[in-house]
């Protein structure tokens, strides 16, 4: 089991459980009072009740303790999310409208599909070529923004073989919802074979200049140059290209 997933889900359950108790308590008390002290059942209101210091202290201190526990739980999980194991392999992730590109330690590059060996800790160095994106892999409960001109990081543990969805979670323009990808966790052996071959993917199916689109109905990844590349020009101001070029020339 992935330790980060576990700690996030547990904090979630912890917070939701307390919240449900509070919500049920508040709602039941409210509804009970409305019936029990209705005009009919209680014709004379008790005007002497205007407050109660003990109660005020109780419902300040107990919630304070509860939320501090929640904070602490969240903080513990956060430590796990942020502390990168020293043995982690590094993958550079670059977001650009509207495609993900990955660069492995041996400089091999791929687009949209992120191949990773099973049972490894992977650190991601996140950046962006244009606007703010956010690299989000729900199955691993992590995301972090990709901000131009700076490198953010995150990590996760590839506990199980399989294919996992990647989303862009920070709104980035027209095809934000098509800025998708897949994390494909394969065996160490398969991965080594794949990563050794220099840039096969790039020439085969996906070019760095191609915008990849996950076909909405099937969830399959395919390259769709015509639609997105054409639309792209419409939404980005002409000077964008210049700014981008200037950056890349540096």
């Amino acid at each position: 089991m992935n330790p980060v997933v576990e700690v996030v889900d547990n904090s979630f359950i912890f917070i939701v459980a307390i919240s449900v108790l509070l919500l049920v308590g508040i709602t039941i008390a409210m509804i009970y009072f409305v019936f029990r002290y209705s005009e009919k059942n209680n014709p004379k209101p008790d005007q002497s009740i205007t407050g109660n210091t003990t109660l005020e202290v109780v419902w300040t201190v107990i919630p304070l303790l509860l939320v501090m526990a929640m904070f602490f739980y969240g903080y513990i999980g956060f430590r796990d999310i942020r502390n990168i194991p020293p043995d982690a392999m590094v993958v550079k992730v670059t977001g650009r409208m509207w495609v993900w590109s990955f660069e492995y330690e041996n400089k091999k590059k791929s687009d949209t599909l992120l191949y990773l060996p099973v049972g490894r800790n992977v650190k991601f160095e996140l950046s962006s070529a244009d606007v703010v994106h956010s690299f989000y892999v729900p199955a691993f409960r992590v995301k972090e923004d990709c901000v131009p001109n700076r490198t953010n990081y995150m990590w996760f543990h590839t506990s199980q073989e399989g294919t996992y969805d990647v989303f862009c979670a920070e709104y980035c323009g027209m095809n934000h919802s098509y800025m998708l990808g897949k994390v494909i966790v394969i065996t160490e052996k398969e991965f080594l074979e794949w990563v050794r071959v220099p840039d096969t993917l790039k020439t085969d199916t996906l070019k760095t200049t191609t915008t990849s689109v996950v076909a909405p109905m099937t969830g399959e990844v395919k390259a769709d140059t015509s639609k997105t590349a054409g639309d792209k020009k419409d939404t980005i101001k002409t000077n964008t290209k210049d700014t981008l070029l200037r950056r890349e020339n540096k």
Binding site: V34, Y37, I76, F78, K143, P148, M174
Partner: protein, 563 residues
């Protein structure tokens, strides 16, 4: 008997001063007429933004294209957000009911600066007009989201400059209104109305006004800088020119987080008016509720960073902001507990406004409690920027401020228009709203935890069931809202006359006629006790007469002290 006569003759609705007809309204400096000017404009924008919301939900009915293209969808969610936030949620309760009711509640004839008040309505209309112009000029409606995050907002070819300019101008309107309320509350309270005899609605407005005055300039400057970036490329935020996009996010949220308290504090103030009125007893923990408004305003200032837990902000900052965010939950909790306790041993008259408030407490509690999931670091990183957040803030903003706006309408409707509506229909409409609301927004919590990012035009097919449910909820909700407003509209035209005090309220606005006269009071009243005392009078409405005719010692001492 004489009261009804006087009320009818001098009603602010029928008054004709220097100007007649429509001019008598758009040039009026009467706080009540200005309140209604705001109300009419705000209702139009509410229905526009609601329609946009319904269109978004229609688009999400099926994966891929349902009724529109991605570019249109992006503009629509931006407009939905901008209009709802800047033209409805922020001004609605303060500008409409704050203007109308608050001066009467504190025993004043008007706000401190009546002309400035009218000016702020014109600023509001100017901002609104700019927003409308932005739709039809340049590249068309902005597509940045209401958050205008850079660098996208600098690069978008859409008409972002106009939209931000609109928000900039609207900001001024908010600041002016806030300033006016602060001075009004400080200087215009009736004799004897000490701070702790002030109605809690006025307290809520007071806390809100301070946030408006202190925080709004920050968003003004920030949005103005975006315009400068777009026109001149000054490079404050644009990383391509050495600027810092994270700086933008800080500046944006330094305003926009406290802004959620601008949105909710006045609404909370109305809750504290409605509960003691229908429970027929004093509010529980008056001081705690009053002070907690200030507490929320103060701590609310320091928690903006919780919107940026995945932005790349330092880990230390994330931890500090998370801690502070949890602290702001405390004064909010205190309010809720005190409200529920107010019902204890009351003699509760079940009525439409009360029913809306009960709906508010339930829905807003869900909103507040799910906020804890977003405040905790580990869970926020997973659910931020997903539908979980969308659900959370609709529970807080719509379920909080929106439902309370409806409650407020029903509570003060008889006072404002002197007409009564059908309470049964109001209760049925509210039930439909509660059901529709939860079917619309609750599935979003689930989709969010499943990893559905927000502001997505398209989605993976396994989520379709939840999306369909949510869209159906939007239809139910809209049906309820239309039903509710239809009922009020009918009452406005054909409703029976409302009494001066139909609910048995204890604050000053229930002591004046329905609708109030132009001057509100024949004579400035003298206040002799708290705002929610049900078993003895706490106001002397005509001090000059009553002091002569009555020789009660209890009044004399108080009155003298007050002067």
């Amino acid at each position: 008997m004489t009261d009804t006569l006087a009320a009818h003759e001098g009603s602010y609705l029928e008054y004709e001063g220097r100007h007649k007809g429509i001019l008598g309204w758009v040039l009026s400096t009467d706080h009540k007429r200005i309140g209604l000017l705001y109300l009419s404009a705000i209702m139009v924008f509410f229905f526009v933004a609601m329609t946009l919301g319904v269109m978004m939900r229609l688009e999400m009915l099926t994966p891929g294209e349902t009724i529109m293209k991605p570019q249109t969808y992006n503009s629509i969610f931006t407009l939905h957000g901008v209009i709802m936030v800047f033209l409805f949620i922020i001004p609605a309760i303060p500008a409409v009911f704050g203007n109308f009711i608050m001066p009467i509640q504190i025993g004043a004839k008007d706000v401190a600066f009546p002309r400035l008040n009218l000016f702020s309505w014109y600023l509001y209309m100017t901002g609104a007009t700019l927003a409308i112009i932005s739709l039809f000029t340049g590249g068309g409606a902005a597509d940045t989201g209401w958050t205008f995050y850079v660098p996208y907002s600098i690069r978008s070819a859409q008409n972002v400059s106009f939209t931000t300019l609109a928000a900039f101008v609207l900001g001024f309107s908010t600041i002016v209104t806030g300033l006016n309320f602060i001075v009004t509350i400080h200087r215009m309270r009736a004799p004897g109305m000490t701070w702790f005899r002030m109605p809690l609605f006025a307290w809520g407005l007071y806390a809100t006004s301070w946030i408006q005055v202190l925080a709004t300039p920050v968003i003004g400057i920030t949005l103005f800088l975006i315009i400068l970036e777009r026109l001149l490329g000054v490079g404050v935020f644009d990383p391509a020119l050495g600027g810092d996009p994270i700086l933008y996010q800080h500046m944006f949220w330094i305003y926009s987080h406290p802004a959620v308290y601008i949105m909710i504090l006045p609404a909370m103030g109305v809750v504290s008016e409605i509960l003691p009125t229908f429970a027929r007893k004093d509010i529980f923990g008056y001081k705690q509720i009053a002070i907690s408004s200030l507490g929320i305003a103060l701590i609310g200032y320091l928690v903006w960073g919780h919107h940026m837990f995945v932005s790349g902000m330092s880990d230390t900052a994330r931890i500090v902001f998370s801690l502070l965010t949890f602290l702001v939950a405390i004064p909010t909790g205190v309010k809720i507990f005190n409200w529920v306790a107010t019902l204890y041993k009351g003699s509760i008259k079940f009525s439409a406004p009360l029913y809306y408030v009960l709906a508010f407490i339930f829905i807003f509690s869900i909103g507040g409690l799910t906020g804890l999931v977003l405040g905790a670091l580990a869970t926020d990183i997973h659910v931020t920027d997903t539908y979980f957040v969308v659900a959370h803030f609709h529970y807080v903003m719509f379920g909080g401020m929106g439902i309370m706006f409806f409650a407020t309408m029903h509570f003060w409707f008889p006072k404002m228009f002197g007409k009564m509506y059908n309470e049964k229909i109001a209760v049925i409409a509210c039930t439909i709203i509660i059901v529709g609301f939860n079917i619309l927004y609750f599935p979003m919590f689930i989709m969010g935890y499943m990893g559905m990012p927000r502001r997505y035009y398209d989605y993976l097919p396994h989520l379709q069931g939840w999306h369909i449910l949510s869209t159906v909820g939007s239809w139910i909700l809209v049906a309820g809202i239309v039903f509710m407003f239809g009922n009020l509209l009918y009452a406005l035209l054909k409703g029976p006359k409302a009494a001066r005090n139909p609910w048995g309220g204890t604050t000053l606005e229930w002591r004046v006629s329905s609708p109030p006269t132009v001057e509100n009071f024949d004579e400035i009243p003298v206040v002799t006790g708290g705002p929610y005392v049900h078993d003895k009078p706490t106001y002397i409405m005509q001090p000059s007469k009553e002091l002569v005719h009555e020789n009660g010692d209890k009044l004399k001492g108080e009155t003298l002290k007050a002067h």
